[in-house]
Amino acid sequence: MTDRKPVFSKILLFSMSFATLMAGRSFAQSDSVQRFRQLEEVQIRERLVPELRRSVVPVQVLSGLQLSRMHSLSVADAVRFFSGVQLKDYGGIGGLKTVNVRSMGTNHVGVFYDGVQLGNMQNGQVDLGRFSLDNMELISLYNGQKPGLLLPARAYASASAIYMESRRPVFEGRLARRYRVALKGGSYGFVNPSLSIEQKLGRRISARINSEFLNANGRYGFRSRIGTTDTSAVRQNTDIWSVRNEADIFGPNDSLAAWHLKFYQYSSERGLPRAIVSNRFEARQRQWDDNLFVQGKYRRQIGRRFAWSFSGKYSHDRLRYLDPEITTDAGFLNNLFRSDELYASLSSQYEITGFWEIGLSGDYQLNDMRANLYRFPYPSRQTLLAAAVSRLQLKNFLVEANLLSTVVDEDVQYYLQANDFRKLTPSVSFNWQAVSEVPIHLRGFYKEIFRMPSFNDLYYTFSGNSFLRPEYAKQINLGLTSANNLGSGVLRTLDAQADVYYNKVTDKIVAVPGQNLFRWAMINLDEVEIRGLDATLRMAGQAGSKLDFTLLFGYTFQKAIETTPGAAPGQQILYIPKHSGTFTASADYGAAGLSYSFVYTGERYAQKANIRSNYLQPWYTHDLSLHYRAQSGRRLLSVNLEVNNMLNQQYDVVKNFPMPGRNYRLGLSWQFDHAKRETHGL
């Protein structure tokens, strides 16, 4: 605990100087903060309303200020607030955090960062805990796929998609450079400084570099029920450090042309905490990650009817796993995995008439993987995707249909390779405003898609099975949506959406026992039927001249039943609650704000059988945060104080992986702008 002291004393120093800074300033400047904030929100809202209203698929968005208030460190924390999402969290800052959308499984969720998909061919899952919110402007979740044309074919190739968009620099007037320095600190030795510099490079070109360092010892106390007793202990081997560096060059972004170049680098080392079981709390396994990618996007409108776009990416990932509890004849178990991805996408869009557009997209992707495992086959996979899209937009009716063709060519250097694969999958969706005067839209979609087995599924020594087929997901969704600007009363905006859906997952890839417990094998076995309801309601308004408020409700009902022949009937699949929901309320008064959020996950089962010994209690956390933004001229100072899990509830998201209890975070950020010097002689 002693190593927490320096962090706190630093924070204290910062807050004291901040207080000195603030003292004596007139309150009037908070009006400008408020104006600035309102402007920001209005801009984002202008962009979002048509999307919320006219989307053919369910879309949920968190943006701007809402994101910054969300008691969230990483993207994983933020997506908890989306309906239909179950976050799988092994606890702590370094713990693996993945999402499962509408019970179809993590591998069916595509994650896109600035328009290009983040891949993980090794296990097909993206750890959202590694993406900081520091940089994000918008996070959205689309069930089915993101609607629209001029998207890479990949955008049509997953059962649901999360889009993360980094903030674009905006320079007004003569501003030429903006610095943002931030420091977060908190419980469990958490310290997280970051620096961001935005530079105007030309009339329509700007750049940003953003660096962040994170360190935490992660040693949180927990009380966990083991067997029939409650045990209190401190979580061990949960330390982490990570460094993230991003550099972006933003070109113009308008209807005629747009481009964006991105460089991303992430390195980390972390302990992997183990399940808390009888007589065993300590763990020694460690993991090192290095991820690097460069990506670019270019879009151009040619004439009135035609547009095309290109995107490309190269990524290199390296993972090292060390297990000092396993001593082989060559020392500790030490696994190294390296993988590469090369990706290029070309898409086009053509407007046939004023109401009918068509589009074509083609993607090529090359993945390979190397590992120092016994009998590792050194696989590579080439994927060719082509998508044809058609969009018909009448006054009150919009319909979109697409056909996706997938060709996968698999190669291995040794042993058995998986079968090559080709498949056509359709999707169709609509949005209909039945009565022009009533601002309610009916929407629906049908989509067939699959996920390819990951390299681990196919080739991991002793469990991989190269005979695996893809896992299919069929989705039917019907819903209502409404997004309204209500004018100048107390309630200014009201967005609501509710969707019912039916999903069927077949040929689900699961691990089954082989010869013995050491010899599991992956096979296509299970079938799951999911019937669900997602509903969200968002209200925002103003009371008096200074008080803004936002309320957000989300509710999810899911009946996810295994229907594999021979399975026990009526069993809810593991880790999926029937009921879950969120509630968030935030209010700003002048420069100060308060935000409260509540996340609820109903009872679940940790294994297939819905029996007592697999039962997991519901959990619900209350988080509270206070923030203050002070602007003076070109300087903006903000302070954020969070209390998470206020009632100190002890809970597991994943059985025997206890989550942190009440914890605190304090964040300070200082943003200041530089104007361009007047040039002499002008």
């Binding site: 009888s278 005979f467 089954v512 010869q515 029996i611 209690q617």
Partner: protein, 369 residues
């Protein structure tokens, strides 16, 4: 919101219901019942000890929790169970411990900590337990160990280093035979039995058998039946017969061994081999005549329960020493509760009960004890 509030509260599940599963009672002269150890999946802390009482015909689930309220449970991945004297010993692998319980009350007498412990056997008032690593955390120490536990003081008295990742062990004529697997260093498996002199507690020699050894069972004629798991790819599993007089392999059978039990002059074997081409398990049930060292032509299941699909994953087998009933566990998909089937010596199913997850190891409790 109303629904959230309504279903929001955490329920207190209360204690587990007491009543066991009823099974036809049977009066036996020598055997009063048996313990069944459910391994439970790793990280689930779901190892569970069940007890079947022949006199009352009741199958009691998870008697450890009932005998030890307020404990942290039997632990993570039960790996072996044995009855010696009036005590029952449960080896819990991931929880790094051996629980010693009173066989009648199931109350804990002692928890003995031993990292990565695997299997247990007894001789002359001592228990012998294998552990995958003699020292955990030393990169230069891949060898396993056998620890000797005094069954009176319930503490570890001596320790000997053996081959890498030792599994089962058996005592014949004052010598301890330990199966070395080498499972941590595939493809460089071990292929020997370590022989330990119980007097000096030193490894005296190694007998070359086959790769990746697992089960070791002694018959009444001084022979050891030792299973090799093969390498799961090219080298198939085998069952070797070792003559402990000559310390060498006498004969072998091409058999996959999930579990075996020796009763009088017969070995009862269930085996599962994973077929890479079909992605399916091939299940076999075999009996060996130990005098002739030849497979018997009949099966210990005669009523069709051996047909594919009836038993998903035969995992543990034990023969009642008195009435010769065959107890066979089905671990199913390993992540659901399993089933225990009891077949009469005529090969017909007598009864079945639902067990915990991965029912695996059975130990009989005798009346005189």
């Amino acid at each position: 919101m109303a629904m959230l509030v309504l279903s929001g509260c955490r329920k207190d599940l209360g204690p587990e219901p007491e009543e066991g599963q009823p099974v036809p009672a049977e009066t036996l002269n020598r055997v009063s019942g048996f313990f069944l150890l459910n391994e439970g999946n790793m990280n689930m802390n779901k190892a569970a000890l069940d007890y079947f009482d022949y006199g009352t015909g009741t199958y009691h689930s998870d008697v450890f929790s009932k005998g030890n309220p307020g404990s942290s449970g039997l632990g993570d991945v039960g790996n072996d169970v044995a009855v010696y004297g009036s005590k029952v010993y449960v080896v819990v692998n991931v929880s790094n411990k051996i629980e010693v319980l009173d066989a009648r009350t199931y109350k804990r007498l002692r928890q003995i900590n031993l990292d990565n412990c695997r299997y247990i056997t007894f001789s002359g008032g001592k228990a012998y337990v294998t552990a995958y690593l003699g020292v955990v955390g030393d990169p230069d120490a891949p060898q396993g160990s056998v620890s000797e536990i005094d069954t009176a003081s319930l503490s570890i008295t001596r320790r000997v280093t053996v081959g890498r990742q030792p599994e089962e062990l058996a005592v014949v004529g004052g010598r301890l035979f330990v199966a070395n697997s080498g499972g941590y260093s595939a493809p460089n498996y071990e292929r020997t039995l370590s022989v330990i002199d119980l007097g000096t507690f030193r490894e005296t020699k190694r007998i070359d058998v086959g790769i990746n050894l697992h089960r070791v069972r002694a018959d009444a004629y001084g022979d050891l039946y030792v299973s090799s798991r093969g390498d799961y790819y090219d080298i198939p599993p085998k069952l070797y017969v070792i003559d402990t007089g000559a310390d060498r392999v006498k004969t072998s059978f091409d058999l996959a061994i999930s579990d075996l039990d020796i009763s009088a002059d017969t070995a009862y074997i269930c085996g599962t081999a994973f077929n890479y081409q079909t992605g399916k398990n091939v299940i076999s049930y075999t009996m060996l005549d130990l005098r002739t060292e030849r497979p018997l032509q009949r099966s210990f299941i005669t009523d069709g329960m051996d047909q594919p699909g009836r038993i998903t994953m035969p995992y543990g087998i034990a023969v009642n020493p008195e009435n010769k009933d065959i107890l066979l566990t089905d671990a199913k998909d390993y992540v659901s509760p399993g089933t225990l089937h009891c077949f009469g010596s005529n090969g017909k199913l007598k009864w079945s009960v639902t067990t915990g997850d991965i029912p695996a190891h059975i130990a009989f409790l005798k009346k005189t004890q």
